[in-house]
């Protein structure tokens, strides 16, 4: 019995944590950015933290459509040496 109770409280805590997390939103939908430009280094840098990797959708909250465009833009920017492929 005891362990089950503990389990339940754990679950509750977990749900609480989850419920109060700030809702993620897609930056591009929100700001109605019509086209993600590969030349816009400032914008893209926000999605390529330290190592220069592309920030995953699961964390940034970007919607699928915009994540695809973002990926394309970042890869173009890398090609023309505006963004690093890796940074360490």
């Amino acid at each position: 019995m005891d362990s089950r109770d503990r389990d339940r409280t754990k679950k509750k805590q977990f749900r609480k944590k989850f419920l109060f997390r700030k809702k993620k939103f897609c930056k591009f939908c929100e700001e109605k950015i019509p086209y993600i430009d590969y030349k816009d280094v400032r914008l893209l840098q926000g999605f390529t933290p330290e190592r220069g990797k592309i920030f995953p959708r699961r964390i940034s909250g970007t919607c699928a459509k915009h994540q695809r465009e973002l990926m394309q833009a970042i890869k173009r920017a890398r090609n023309i040496a505006l963004l690093p492929f890796t940074a360490d």
């Binding site: 173009r76 090609n79 023309i80 040496a81 690093p84």
Partner: protein, 119 residues
């Protein structure tokens, strides 16, 4: 006629006049291929995000053009033949995309400092 956007990076050791000369040649080749150059933007010298050959910085020039695909191919061929050009990228602009103001104000002046900070 297709719209393209083409960027090339020249060796920073190349003088402005030299680059202007290349530009003139490119523009001529495009108009010879019955296309036209819509816009030329010279960003000036900025730090490259990674080393290209032995270069740490490069001189960026952006071209916006409207031309048949053959003329764009010719332009890229010219880029490749020019040994002052260290990198280039040509992108087709799909629909009529609106101009997006860049988040950066002065690309030439600001970004070099920023990228060196990151390193």
């Amino acid at each position: 006629m297709v719209k393209y956007e083409s960027i090339f990076i020249t060796d920073p050791a190349a003088t402005d006049d030299e680059v202007a000369g290349f530009l003139k040649g490119f523009e001529d080749s495009i108009s010879a291929g019955s296309g036209k150059v819509l816009k030329v933007e010279r960003w000036g010298k900025r730090r490259l995000a990674y080393r290209v050959g032995r270069h740490e910085d490069g001189n960026y020039t952006l071209l916006k053009l409207e031309c048949p695909p053959a003329a764009a191919r010719e332009l890229e061929r010219r880029y490749r033949m020019n040994d002052r050009i260290i990198k280039y990228l040509t992108v087709r602009l799909d629909k009529d995309l609106p101009e997006v103001p860049l988040a950066q104000a002065a690309p030439a002046a600001e970004t070099p400092a920023e990228s060196s900070e990151k390193e």
